[in-house]
Assembly symmetry: C2
Homo-oligomer: 652 residues x 2
């Protein structure tokens, strides 16, 4: 790689990619130091990136923050960064390989000096990685901030973030490409699949996998929905047919989850994340502790004893979660009292209005559930933050576990209670339908329309402000205003909430499917609108997120599989409780239960065998991966052979 | 590495390590060609090993095979071979790292020119690997054998094996070391743990892990045995206590299996196999098919369509296995008829002898079970061979699955029948005891004493033969006789049968533990003798096996875990059936069953959560592995940085 410092510092070819917003009262010496470190050569421990301060723009007011910086990089720097992060790109033979600058010309799309080789999302990811791994050398603190301590090897950006000096860092949208993506994604009228490759190109693999999963999940539910419609329409109370439906449902759920793994492996291979090695994980920005030596890296960094964390988890977080579950149970009991009250009112004086009143408790309960989930979510985030996990992945796992358990309990406890303690199938069906529909409507509202409306207000204000100062050439906002506008947009907090929503929907479909076959239809309809609203919010409501090189949907695969195991148990129990099935065993309830338990065990065993039988990675991709590994082994052998013979010749 | 052909060919420092026995009628041109290929330099595609023909010896007779060859190698060759096979050795900082010749002096035990760095077992493994990967160049067939086809890249040794030209290849015992090992292993009188490191040193990791598991399993059963004794001795028919025992048993089984994973990871790390990469797997010697291009390696080699193999598996093997299961069921029914007959005889005329007669059917059945298992084993091997698996691992998996299913069914079907269809707990206990004890005695006999006796006869004959020709300097057999003697020893077929035996014993302990608590005591006693008989047979009955760099007990971990899941189900059912537990629910059997099912589900869920909660690799080893990975990442980064700056300097 050639260093071209002249071009680097002149910034003639500067394309802004990432925005860094520092606090408006940041001391000048800190800013100067930071910019210097970012611009410094890599040999000197710098990041060797280009950085410029954002001009004040026309609409600037006193309260506007002027400490906004645009970060970019030369193409050469980006290519060497791509090698640092271990990016996989398509090789000339069609396989996916880790990009190296040494053989860059053998990659398929590498043309000229490679200025269109990396997508903008990849460039932004590389810049984020380089900034994140910009480390302190011999500084003991951030200049001007004695309390912002540094030690050799500490990530500067993380320290600035945790001390509130760096407010945010986000990648810029590209208006033109976004317009194209918007069009092919959801503005086209004709029915078609989502442009997953384009989504990945613009938002990265994590986002694209979410939308891929959403699409896959929707299609996978279509057969269930189609079968469910006649059951509902003709009110088939014949439980023979229900048994068939439930068994089909259970096997289907297992099969689609297994096939998704294959599907996701294919996507991840095509996108080069399947065999990409995870980068060494940095501590979270908020992680704190006493300085000590990390046993893995040998570097001096804060350590926090695991035992303390365990104590916090088991003696604070766990009791808190249990308390919340109890609270949720309490709310559920209030709901049932309301149900009873509504029923008595309706029974005393049955009119049209009291008929509607019957649905009111469920609707209120559904709204309360959503509110509780939301409050709990904040509490869980606070608690998990307080547990002081060193790695982001560990933080995420603990957060997901907390949120999943509570949400599952909060959403489904009342249904379990109705089904297995009250034995009231009519109420179960009604309650299920109300919960499902209300939560869908609420979610769509909270998730897309509310943020959109807030955003639009801000947007209009900004446009008005700009128009005030400028003549009406408008339409395209100048870069300065664009950056300020995006800086004010909400931050997309990752796919967590989206997956959680799908997870709960999957629960509604699978747990009580044999009671309310229409659930699949409702979920399919919801998912179709979900694609549009999610696409919309990604494109117009939120800041562009940094791409996240995911190879699969991670912990959610496990969550969905756990749900499908629970579904086997509940559905078997529901079938066993149905009067029609009971009629087959008029003499002995024991016989009935033994049969149901036996069938349940067989289904569970079948599930596990299926999981083993269906390989997680499709054969063609297995072969491609094996070939890559074989070639690298052969290359190593050949290299060694050459070295040996070279050495022996030298000795001779 | 320096080439020293002069010393290589003179053979002055020749230590025989591996023996190759060719058929006695092998054509001279084939032998000459083979020896030439083995001795040829690596640059020319040879193996660069030392090889000598075994002398005729004193006791040679006409029927003795003269085509026995001893293979060895120079130390330099062995060290470069160690790098080829990816051997992990202890580094100077105490961590385990892949050995490379480049930094050989930084490894802990590397002294001088490294002639005691590798253990003999490792050397033998390296020689085997080098012979196995000795590939045909442009030969179209083995000289003198037009039907033994070769093609570029085909392993020569595999072809010679599959055509019967190479009869066997085995590593030599070392008398001195074997004596030491024997002494510390089982000849010492004082109680102590097995010398696992020495076993690994002599036999390799696979063997040592088996003995480690045997030891671990025995110790893990001691608490169960200790608790089981009072239950049996005082005849505690109080089922409250049984429930406690059974629950403890189930949790215990889960915990010990999980802890074993950690234990095995520790051992494997210490022995350097934990993070060792699997070598690229060669096709099995017996694999045949039509020549085509392997999609992974791109080499021309036989291919066999997967669909054909699937057809053979599902339309021949599967029906055959089912037929065998039916046969086993049929035999079981005959056993029950015998039981009934014995019981009627005893009831008509109850004497001491008819009392003994009651045990006869169980004993006969136990013997028949062992015989059926043995016959089935051969059939399963034949069928799996016929399925024509390309890789040894795939062959092994299919064989293990076939054998496991049949053995499980054959051994436990009668117990399940007695427990859950006949509901006869007394017969269950008696039958369990008889089956367990008889099969233990039979196994010990078949496995160690019979082969030993046969071996001793051969041994004596050989010694007599030698003594006839020689004067009585005896005691130490000369090398020639030693080699011939070992060539006649039985071949150790791997740990398969040993693990299978442990698996079945585990089944006897866990499946019906709450009915016969003494089972654990019997198994502990058996295991103690098993250690001695297995150690004895390894040292004195069998040829030394090639070491096998295993990192865990592989598919057996899964098998044991599956057994412990089945144990939860059976034990819960047994508890539910006991009259004492039934007495708690005098009114409603349904309530009882629902409770039992609920408890079973909770236990199963608890098992899975435990499996997640207990990490498979102990923390200190996780840290060591992470450090290694971190260092290699850092080294890569530094190397890249140097290259970049070097290049930029060169350009400047």
């Amino acid at each position: 790689m050639l260093q071209e410092p002249s071009v680097d510092s002149s910034g003639s070819s500067f394309t802004p990619l990432v925005v860094m917003e520092l606090a408006s009262d940041t001391k000048q010496e800190a800013i100067a130091w930071l910019l210097n470190r970012i611009r410094d050569l890599q040999q000197n421990g710098g990041a060797e990136l280009l950085v410029q301060q954002l001009g004040p723009g026309v609409g600037v007011q006193e309260k506007d923050n002027l400490n906004i910086f645009l970060v970019g990089a030369s193409w050469q720097r980006l290519l060497s960064g791509a090698e640092d992060v271990g990016l996989f790109k398509e090789f000339s033979d069609g396989s996916m390989r880790a990009f190296t600058c040494a053989n860059k010309h053998e990659f398929k799309d590498f043309k000229g000096d490679g200025d269109s080789f990396l997508s903008v999302a990849e460039c932004q990811y590389i810049i984020k990685h380089e900034l994140d791994t910009l480390r302190a050398r011999d500084e003991t603190h951030v200049p001007g901030y004695t309390q912002a301590k540094l030690y050799p090897g500490k990530s500067i950006i993380r320290r600035l973030q945790s001390k509130g000096i760096l407010i945010q860092m986000f990648p810029l949208h590209e208006k033109e490409e976004l317009k194209r993506l918007t069009f092919s994604w959801y503005k086209k009228v004709k029915l078609s699949l989502q442009p997953l490759d384009d989504i990945r190109h613009y938002y990265g693999e994590g986002q694209a996998l979410y939308f891929g999963f959403l699409e896959y999940f929707t299609f996978a539910l279509v057969p269930l929905a189609l079968i469910g419609v006649p059951y509902y329409a003709f009110d088939w109370e014949d439980y023979d047919k229900y048994v068939v439906f439930a068994v089909f449902n259970l096997v289907w759920c297992t099969v689609i989850l297994e096939l998704w793994k294959r599907c996701s492996a294919s996507l991840a291979y095509r996108w080069g994340t399947l065999s990409r090695k995870k980068a060494f994980e940095e501590p979270r920005p908020g992680f704190h502790g006493v300085l000590g030596f990390n046993p893995v890296t040998g570097r001096e960094e804060p350590l926090y004893p695991n035992i303390k964390r365990q104590l916090r988890i088991y003696f604070v977080s766990l009791p808190f979660v249990l308390l919340c579950l109890y609270g949720s149970l309490y709310v559920m009991m209030i709901y049932f009292q309301m149900e009873v009250w509504a029923l008595t009112v309706h029974d005393e004086e049955p009119t049209f209005w009291t008929g509607i009143l019957l649905f009111i408790p469920s609707i209120i309960y559904a709204v309360v559930i959503e509110i509780l989930n939301l409050i709990y979510r904040y509490a869980a985030e606070f608690l998990t933050e307080w547990e002081n996990h060193r790695l982001e992945s560990s933080y995420q796992n603990h957060l997901v576990l907390k949120v999943l358990v509570f949400n599952f309990f909060n959403c489904f406890a009342s249904l379990f209670y109705i089904a297995f303690i009250m034995h009231d199938m009519v109420l179960l069906r009604q309650s299920l339908a109300t919960l499902l529909i209300t939560s869908q409507i609420l979610n769509q509202f909270m998730e897309a329309f509310l943020p959109y409306w807030l955003q639009r207000r801000r947007n209009k204000k900004m446009i008005r402000k700009v128009q005030k100062r400028r003549t009406l050439e408008d339409k395209e906002l100048p870069l300065v205003e664009q950056v300020r506008l995006e800086a004010d947009m909400s931050t997309y907090l990752g796919t967590f909430d989206d997956y959680l929503e799908l997870f709960l929907l999957f629960g509604y479909v699978s747990l009580f499917s044999c009671v309310y076959p229409l659930a699949a239809v409702l979920v399919v309809l919801n998912n179709i609108t979900e694609v549009y609203s999610d696409a919309f919010k990604m494109c117009h409501v939120f800041k562009r997120p940094f791409s996240d090189p995911a190879a699969d949907i991670g912990v959610w695969q496990l969550a969905f599989e756990a749900m499908s195991v629970i579904a086997v148990v509940t559905n078997c129990a529901l079938i066993g409780m149905s009067p029609q099935v009971k009629a087959y065993f008029p003499d002995s309830e024991t016989q009935l239960i033994l049969w149901i338990v036996a069938i349940e065990h067989v289904l569970l065993a079948f599930k596990f065998i299926l999981t083993f039988l269906i390989p997680d990675v499709p054969k063609p991709i297995q072969i491609k991966l094996a070939r890559l590994e074989f070639e690298s082994l052969e290359a190593l052998k050949k290299k060694k052979m050459l070295e040996t013979s070279g050495l022996s010749k030298m000795v001779q």
